[in-house]
Subunit: 258 residues, 2 copies
Amino acid sequence: MNIILFEANETGKPLPKGDERTSHLLKVLHKKAGDTFEAGMVGGSRGTGRIEAVEASGSLVFSLDLGESPPPRVPLRLVVGFPRPIQLRRLLRDLANLGVEGVDLVGTELGDKSYRNTTLLTDGGARRAFIEGAVQARDTMLPSLEVYHSLKMWLEKRPWERCGSFLDTPDGDADFRLPSILIAADNVRPTGSLARLDTPMRSALIAVGSERGWSDRERDMLEGAGFLRLSLGPRALRTETACMVAALLAMEKIGALD
Amino acid sequence: MNIILFEANETGKPLPKGDERTSHLLKVLHKKAGDTFEAGMVGGSRGTGRIEAVEASGSLVFSLDLGESPPPRVPLRLVVGFPRPIQLRRLLRDLANLGVEGVDLVGTELGDKSYRNTTLLTDGGARRAFIEGAVQARDTMLPSLEVYHSLKMWLEKRPWERCGSFLDTPDGDADFRLPSILIAADNVRPTGSLARLDTPMRSALIAVGSERGWSDRERDMLEGAGFLRLSLGPRALRTETACMVAALLAMEKIGALD
């Protein structure tokens, strides 16, 4: 843990002995009363925490002095055909580690319907996965997470247009003169490769299908919505790996890995 | 499974009922006697397998007609400070999925010594992880895997110089006039960023430290051996993710993602 993150409802009361943050502070970092640590509020600012006391029960009384901004978001949003639940957990963690703005999960025509019934989305597991990734990057902000029944519904709702870096509001900022690029990963019927795309871009929206990829109907819908269908290279990749490849190539082009 | 891979000692006898390849062929792909499937020999060629019979015991009698070359290797070798065993397994799988030539694991000065005692290296788990990744990419070749006690010993042995794409033998092939680049991922004291490196390269050797990164002594050793110390971007990444970022950026520059 590179930062200890708290939820807003956790302030003003001790951190229980059994909490993994308590054991990390006391047993891994060997902190004691009076010591400080890197701290942040989920969705808020960062700064310094201080251990005020370790109670007889093993609970930890702490104070927070926050006020520093989190690192900037990476202007990138992914829409992903539901992967297997175990892959989904890791994917959410890794995308939060990279700092992307948002992840949308959609049912796809060739995807396994049962994958949608993951408890990750109902038991707080998705949020825990995001926090695990954010903590690694000393970040306090989590990507947005939305779920759509189908690609078609997602394309109709256009959630990315509500998203910071896709807003079309040039205000003298040079970066706003660069386009937002819409890319659909497609190793079956690509029109080029993402690696070779050399359009300068300010932000990217990337669609990655499920294990079996897109149906032709979905390809047409994506094309109709302005998505470029680009390959991620010559090899078939696991969904999780394909998402990382697409996100990282786009991040490189946006300049988020400089 | 995008291809059914066999080990050399598995030909000429039926595939047991309990084998996951048997259940994949019969239960997932619904194949029956007379049907064919994509097949390959680990370390050898690819082609077509045929189910000759399904025995009463549930074992599967098959024949192989191989002769097609596997996809080309990606001219990339990684040396990685031992990650946590659970991360190591996934890392090996993902690097085999990407098609890299080799992975070397080294002890590092800031790394956790206990990570080296993973059973993955003694119970065949590493090979299974490689096969899982290769299968996804319809590949038959596995990366090489070598283990070194320390970065110093690895630098002394220079195993990459035994490796195909690092051999210095120009023979009229234009690609051989491009250099092989040596890169050490270093987010603490970088001299630039890998994303912005614009040297054309034919192959890359990438060193990624363990969770706590490199010691200054190791930085000096890497620099002395000709490694460029480059950042992977502004965010702290998990070891596994850092390896993927480094590998993918290098693959893009080599042209392996076109």
